[in-house]
Symmetry: C2
Subunit: 197 residues, 2 copies
């Protein structure tokens, strides 16, 4: 049975990005420190890194694909990930911008969809086959799916930093039913997996 997962890295005070997010600085001031665990401690966190990219289909918000604001939609933008993005699977980008699918190398195809999240999820489930569907972010997309009860497993990667301000993951998400399944960590991150609902 396909599950819907969502991996997010947050600061200890609950921010997915610092203040002053921009196209040049998509994680805001200080936000790049959130993801040190994926780069500086890749081996120690191999299972969690693999978990982020195990899905058979992905759903992401338009900001995650093209940055905040109007972004670079007009400039033949092909995402942040180069010609061979790490997804190796269909990626559904929620956006009102109409756009032909972008077929990248290595099996990633970006589909641009202007539909209710429930129908996007149905398409992603179909594309994922036996694998999971991952909500790839950003935070507002994750919140939308969390609020509507569409996520089965939330995997938080808590970086040991305090950002002080920025974009909070859980603001306005409502009263979630959460059960921790596992907690473990390293010196750069604490992983907690939650069953949702």
């Amino acid at each position: 049975m396909t599950r819907v997962t969502c991996d997010l890295t947050v600061s200890l005070d609950g921010f997915v990005a610092g203040p002053n997010q921009s196209l040049e600085q998509p994680l805001g001031t200080g936000g790049e420190k959130l993801h040190r665990w994926q780069f500086q401690e890749r081996d120690k966190n191999a299972a969690e890194v693999a978990g982020i990219l195990e899905a058979g289909a992905y759903i992401m918000g338009r900001n995650m694909f093209a940055g905040p604001g109007d972004g670079p939609w007009d400039k033949e933008w092909r995402g942040w990930w180069g010609e061979e993005p790490p997804y190796h699977a269909p990626v559904f980008v929620l956006t009102t911008h109409a756009h032909e699918p972008l077929v990248m190398e290595g099996g990633t195809t970006f589909h641009f969809v202007n539909e209710p999240i429930e129908s996007v999820l149905a398409r992603a489930r179909e594309a994922a086959g036996d694998k999971n569907v991952a909500i790839a972010g950003g935070a507002s997309t994750a919140r939308q799916f969390l609020s509507t009860g569409l996520i089965d497993e939330l995997r938080l990667h808590i970086a040991p930093i305090v950002l002080g301000s920025g974009e909070r993951l859980l603001d306005g998400v409502g009263n979630l039913k959460l059960e921790p399944l596992e907690a473990r960590g390293t010196s750069l991150v604490s992983h907690i997996r939650y069953k949702v609902g």
Copy 2:
């Protein structure tokens, strides 16, 4: 060497108490769910429960002793914990209310101190002997000690609930240097111990 520890239970969205805190409801709306792990899963969390009460001296804010607002200072108030509080050690209460020490049963004595936190800490260290000094709460007292770099080990107990509003632990605490020492959990709580500074 005496260390300064601080145990706090927070919601996943970072609140130590829900909204509408009052004398009748000191943890605010929904806040009583934060502490289920200490009661419903006491055995599974025995080490962490013991850690909260291992110190040789405690420091707490006036709200933790007497509730928010003016509280029950005039009414021969002797704390929330009955005649034998669980501390079994000196407890320094930060307050501008002058008050004789309260000698309780089982070794707890509440001392009421109107001094800078550094000198209160010096007194607590002396009282603690070889044991640790614990900052017992509430959140604003913990923040004061965190902000001034006086806490060595922060032990967060993250309850799997989203409170949505209330009192946040880390708001305005500044840029802490944190290193996770251990992460583990049960189905009602995730424990993360941090070295601070």
